[in-house]
Amino acid sequence: MTRRLLLHVGTPKTGTSYLQDVLHRNRRTLAAAGISYPADRFDAHFLAALDLMRLPWGGLETEAIGAWDRLAEQVRDHHGTSIISHEIFAAASRSQVGRALRDLGHDDGTEVHVVLSVRDLVRQVPAEWQENVKHRSSISYARFLRQVQDPAREGRIASWFWSVQEIPDILNRWGHDLPPEHVHLVTVPPPGGPPEVLWERFSEAFGLGGLDLDLEAERVNPSLGVPETALIRRINAAANRQLPPADYRPLVRELLAHQTLSQRTGSPRLALPPEVHPWVRELEDSWVAEIRERGYDVVGDLADLEGGPPPTAWADPDQPSEKQVAGAAVDAIKALLLENGRLQQEAARLRGDLDAAHHDLERSYLRPTYRLREKAVRRLQDARLGRVALRAYRVGRGRSSRSA
């Protein structure tokens, strides 16, 4: 059977978390259809990408050691179709892409397809700033925009932004050694359309049509509004020094941002400032023209990459409505209180279990037979002959524990 690899390399904020969640939860159904999604944990491909690209990621990189080699081996060992998906692969350099394709068997006859899901830059720019904020950054929106617009692209924010968002450049790096028909672009529909359209496009690109997959979303990367993002940014500025990354992830990103603040629906949404809008639209047009010329397989419509008009009323996240931020903060405090209460109850339950275990242990110690055995062991241990006898007894009993 021909080995075939579908390598989904980005871009961020294009429904990738949802796709990866569906693929991970439906691994058995996929396997029954001859499709391998080699991931023993939902973020396995993320770790593999960190390992391939030697990227530090708030301490997670220690879990990533060796992850790329393991993933590549699983792909090479599977005779059929394999799928790899993570959006940070978009940032891989040409040499890293070269290594990735080599490790995945591109030179040994594996048919490699690169899939890139893409969304208009008008929505991607504010979404990337929000991702920065959800990853501990306290950079203002204005400063972020200045850095992104700097033609020199110096600094980590600008270089990262363009490495994962500049579609023609990503495809230069990932697609330069592939025929254009093996490069597939999945466009994210404009806002307001039926939500299932994006999945249908993914399904078409990955050849999942006809499979009975559970599409219920468990992991998504939801967006925040203007006051909610401003609040997280303020929390970052206040707590970053004290809050280690291992605590930030569950408390700030998951509990506050994803589970609590993303549920607030009435807030103004993040958008491009009207003065930046024309610059971004011009870029989008040049990208669409370039992609059209290259002849890639487009699943969806390239017109989806042309962002909508600027909002009629733009809310500046650097100068948010304090009333709205206060409302978000109250929701955040409520969530933290409820979580704290839950943890206290959990701690009380565990303390109760521990007390009960101690009690049982004490009772067993207080039993006359236990005390008698303990006394005997102590006496035996005091004499050389006794120690030998005790060792012989333990060996005969088949255990090496020194406990009585």
């Binding site: 030697r54 990227l55 530090p56 040409r94 290594r99 033609p151 330069h176």
Partner: protein, 385 residues
């Protein structure tokens, strides 16, 4: 990509693979495509610098090292691999192509650290002292805290001699020296453990906040231990000559050859060497677990850095007043608390030679790159210990 530009670039790649040192801007030859993609400008310029250094020393990097550089990629977030200016059509996409000569030294060092880290992992940790399986029952019970750059090698040597720290009635030895040197020691120690931010990025917030790094604060360490074991069992040691006696080493020194049994001195390193260790630590963190990283840095990498040229890490002149104030405050508080101090308490005050002359500011990008290049050449020529 224009044909002539591409051929010229492949010609330059072949020239560099062959040991050439001509800068890209002066290169006029042509070559044929020898790979799927053109290596990045950072990798090629690093290779050229390697050849320049090798020519100066009369050596030559191994073909394997040459290929590793050509195929390398800079680790972490930062500037991506860049195209050579003039090798490609002026594309509106991707980062701007560059003349490699214009690349900052730090960008070349990024690529080099990846290769050095790989070499360290391949070499494995070489501990000079293994913990002795025989623990001396008659050993002096001690705990050694304070300046980690002073205390860690001493503790390790004692463990190797069957004298691990701890035990009932331990005396707590708080080891230190002048505050300016201890500040440099604290950053150095971090660089050889978990890595750190650059020197000034780490140092300046402490000075601005009128506080010292926790590992430098001898008074705080002494107070913490005094609360646990009582002040009578805390000794602040500012005179290294007092250390053997407090740690129970005097008799052993008399009986055996003094040189072999003497307590180790802290390694003296150039500022550039420490900064290179910091950068290599960041990459090692992506290749091995934290405990292995510290072992590789301290026991495999550090010996290679001992003869690195350059001035030591010194406190910048503008922070001398801050260090002096903190030292005086530390001295006064320790004396008020009544701890036994071995050595003149004024030894905490920065020595003039521990403060950099005005204008000097620790490691330099050029020095760090030169050292990285030298280490790569040593590795390929079998010159490493």
């Amino acid at each position: 990509m224009t044909v002539s530009g591409e051929r010229r670039a492949w010609g330059w790649v072949a020239h560099l693979r062959d040991g050439g040192t001509t800068p890209w801007a002066d290169w006029r030859g042509e070559g044929t495509r020898e790979g799927v993609y053109l290596p990045g400008a950072q990798q090629l310029e690093l290779l050229r610098r390697l050849h320049l250094a090798a020519h100066r020393d009369g050596g030559r990097p191994s073909p394997r090292l040459v290929e590793r550089i050509v195929e390398a990629s800079a680790p972490g977030r930062g500037t991506p691999d860049l195209e050579l200016v003039g090798a490609t059509d002026a594309s509106p996409f991707g980062p701007r192509p560059v003349d490699p000569v214009d690349l900052p030294d730090a960008e070349l060092t990024r690529v080099a650290t990846s290769l050095i880290a790989e070499d360290l992992v391949a070499a494995g940790a070489r501990r000079p002292h293994e913990a002795s399986p025989l623990i001396r029952p008659w050993r002096t019970r001690y705990r050694l805290v304070g300046d980690p750059w002073l205390a860690d090698p001493v503790r390790e040597a004692l463990v190797a001699r069957g004298r691990p720290p701890g035990g009932r009635g331990s005396v707590v030895v708080v080891l230190g020296r002048d505050v300016a040197t201890m500040v440099a020691d604290a950053w150095t120690s971090r660089c050889f453990d978990e890595g750190s931010v650059p020197w000034r990025e780490w140092l300046d917030p402490f000075a601005a906040g009128h506080r010292v790094p926790p590992r430098v604060d001898l008074e705080r360490a002494a107070a913490t231990w005094a609360r646990r074991v009582g002040p009578a069992r805390v000794r602040v040691v500012l005179d290294p000559g007092a250390l053997p006696r407090l740690l129970g080493q005097r008799r052993a020194q008399r009986r055996r050859r003094a040189q072999r049994r003497a307590l180790p001195q802290p390694p003296a390193l150039a500022a550039d060497a420490v900064d290179l260790a910091r950068q290599v630590a960041a990459v090692l963190g992506l290749l091995v677990l934290p405990s292995q990283r510290a072992d590789l840095l301290r026991h495999t990498f550090l010996p290679r850095l001992l003869d690195a040229p350059g001035p030591p890490l010194l406190l910048p002149a503008e922070h001398a007043e801050w260090a002096t104030q903190r030292a005086v405050r530390m001295r006064d508080r320790m004396l008020r608390a009544g701890y036994a101090v071995h050595g003149d308490p004024d030894r905490l005050v920065p020595r003039p030679e521990a403060v950099a002359p005005a204008g000097a500011s620790g490691p330099t990008d050029a020095g760090v790159l030169a050292l990285a290049v030298r280490l790569m050449l040593d590795e390929t020529q079998g010159g490493s210990p």
